[in-house]
Amino acid sequence: MSEMNQLVTLHTQSLREPVYEPYLDQLIEALRAARLNNSFPDRRGLQGSLETMQKAMRAKLYEQVYIDARSGMPNMASFTRVVTDHEVAAGSLDRMSDTAHYEARRDEAEVYARLLDKRRYYESISGQPYAPLDENRVQLRRHDPATGTAEFRIDLTKLDATGVYVRINIELTQVAGAWRRKVIDLDADGESAAASQAFHATVYRNASFDAEHLFIHMHEIEGVSVDRVQRGVVGPALFCVPTPEGLVVPAEPEQASPLMAHAWRRWLDKPSGKPELVMSFQSDIAARDVRDEKSNDPLEPLLSSRIQDGERARYEHTRQRFPFKVFKDRKFVATPGVEGLVRAVCEAAGTKNLVYRLR
């Protein structure tokens, strides 16, 4: 068994040659193939970060890509490297000699060859998009000073502690009053808005929970009426890369999705012998304008269908107080070798999902 399957620290695996190249290649292709709309984390940024990791590894600036053993995606250390490399690139390029200087001396000493690679790496990533670890925006959609009512959209992208990238859009209406503390503050002209630190923290902390939970949680806040909560999740990813020492796979996939991990483990009994990848992209909406409550997500049924009998009465009472319905969906990108596995999981759950083939 490859040592790359071992955890090097909590939820962390270290991918090196020859695994990182096919692994990152397939992740990048999967993002391209997934046709993500703007309810998901920005595809260009994520793709840019993965490409930066690939370039850095090729330039031998790092010895490994750290991945989250649960989600199968690069972890915070890897994404932070990309961010900090972008941040220091301009300053480092200023201090470095020009490319011709290093090209002329690359055979003189190892340091020149290394600096040439580094310079080319920094030049190649300059101005390219990359994913922030967190990004938060508040947009004012409508403001009626007469009634003190304002409609906002909160847009949060977060590299979640579960190892997946999450984007949350919350549309809400706030009625301001002297007796209430506002969760979102407008500037004096009523044109721009910023969430209070406490409200932002609430959204941030609850980002791991589903749209239904977020809707109820936000709607509980006095003076706030939630219209729509939408979550788009990139990941988890299941991959296998054959090496002479054996297959390299995520070590803890059951912590991301027990159902998918179970099917995956069975599939691994007869692997294809090629690098394979299954990546999922969940969409989860709780909104007033959803007509029918439904989950088309084979991995996450509705809360109402799995709640314990003892809790059902209380749950139904809570839901009656809130005017929204839930729709969950999930699409997949899969290599040909595991496409059958994905279709079987969907069929077993009775869902009809988009499965994009990754060649």
Partner: protein
């Protein structure tokens, strides 16, 4: 033509070739100045690094304080009221929000931001390792070049010395020949003419002996200082690399723990684990801060000393160059004086007036025989 005369003729007509671009007091001064500029540039780089080092150190200290504050809150030492008193101070409740508790900041977000800032600081410090390694490489290349100059100067000095000895022997031969000739005869004048030629060549090549010898010594001093500078840079680069590598590894290993504990802290669960995670991060910061402190000491102990040494080197170089200039001038003055003396003597013989010759402190070898 006798064998001796033929030999002297060979010596006089020989084209003595020195390797390199030729030498003069001015060209030596210019070359040394150019070499010193390389050193000065590297010393300036080190000075810039020292300033940046101070900046990183103060930032790191602030970040470490923040982490320690968190850590102290977690174990209650900040408030003296124990864990819960510390926790209450960290977490506040927004009034008017029914029963929903909202702390002002997400601990997960806060830790993530701190992680990001710390990772950037470590990377900024690590970037200087490459700058230093490039400088070190360039200085070793410079040492190679200086070594070439030293060898060239030594070889040229030897060529000059050999030639000067030949000239001296030829001069002695001619002076002996002259003893046998009638003073003022055509033959004597011819020999005299050859002696003068030899004397002129002696003056030129004696000067070369002196200049190439001085150049060899000065380049050797310059090489010693360049080597010291290269070693200083190499040691500093190795220290920074060691510390930043250690800090980077710790940060890489701590990332998942920091996220996990941040999330747990946000959920008000397993708060004590947060203390453990913070200790991991604090350790990383400690390593980095330690590196900055150590390099400060390193700078104080080495860079300032090095700059002093270079300044001393400057003084001695200037002194040597000044001495050379002075000596060259003296030789030139003696030569001029000899020419004047001879002119005055001839005028006196021809019955003209004029002031008696002023004798130089030591009569030049090229002056007319008594």
């Amino acid at each position: 033509m006798s064998a001796g005369t033929k030999s002297i003729s060979d010596v006089l007509s020989r084209d003595v070739s020195y390797s390199g671009e030729g030498i003069s007091v001015r060209s030596l001064e210019d070359n040394i100045h150019k070499e010193r500029e390389v050193q000065d540039g590297k010393v300036d780089e080190l000075k810039t690094l020292r300033e940046r080092n101070v900046e990183i150190q103060s930032t790191m200290t602030e970040e470490l304080k923040k982490l320690r504050k968190f850590s102290d809150y977690m174990d209650g030492t900040a408030t003296g009221g124990g864990f819960w008193a510390g926790f209450k101070e960290m977490v506040s409740y927004i009034p008017g929000l029914k029963s929903i508790a909202i702390s002002k900041r997400s601990i997960e977000e806060l830790l993530k931001q701190q992680y990001h800032v710390s990772a950037r600081r470590v990377k900024e410090a690590a970037e200087y390792v490459d700058t230093l390694k490039q400088s070190e490489q360039e200085l070793y290349k410079e040492i190679d070049r200086i070594n070439g100059k030293i060898v060239e100067s030594a070889e040229n000095e030897r060529v000059a010395l050999d030639y000067v000895l030949e000239l001296r022997d030829s001069k002695a031969t001619l002076e002996a020949e002259m003893q046998a000739l009638e003073a003022g005869s055509v033959e004597a004048r011819k020999v005299e003419a050859d002696v003068d030629k030899i004397q002129a060549l002696l003056a030129t090549h004696s000067s070369n002996v002196q200049l190439y010898g001085a150049a060899e010594n000065r380049y050797a001093s310059l090489k010693d200082n360049t080597r010291k500078l290269a070693e200083t840079i190499r040691n500093l680069g190795q220290d920074i690399q060691q510390y930043t590598t250690a800090a980077s590894i710790k940060l890489d290993m701590a990332s998942a723990q920091i996220q996990a504990i941040g999330r747990a802290a946000d959920a008000s669960v397993v708060m004590l684990e947060m203390k453990k995670s913070l200790d991991v991060m604090t350790e990383s910061m400690n390593v980095t801060t330690q590196f900055v402190s150590d390099t400060q000491v390193f700078f104080r102990q080495n860079l300032d000393k090095l700059v002093d040494e270079l300044e001393t080197f400057d003084e001695s170089t200037t002194k040597m160059l000044d001495e050379n200039l002075k000596k060259s001038k003296e030789i030139e003055e003696r030569r001029i004086q000899a020419a004047i003396d001879k002119a005055l003597e001839r005028r006196a013989k021809q019955g003209g007036g004029g002031a008696p010759p002023t004798a130089p402190s030591s009569p030049p070898a090229s002056s007319s025989p008594a």
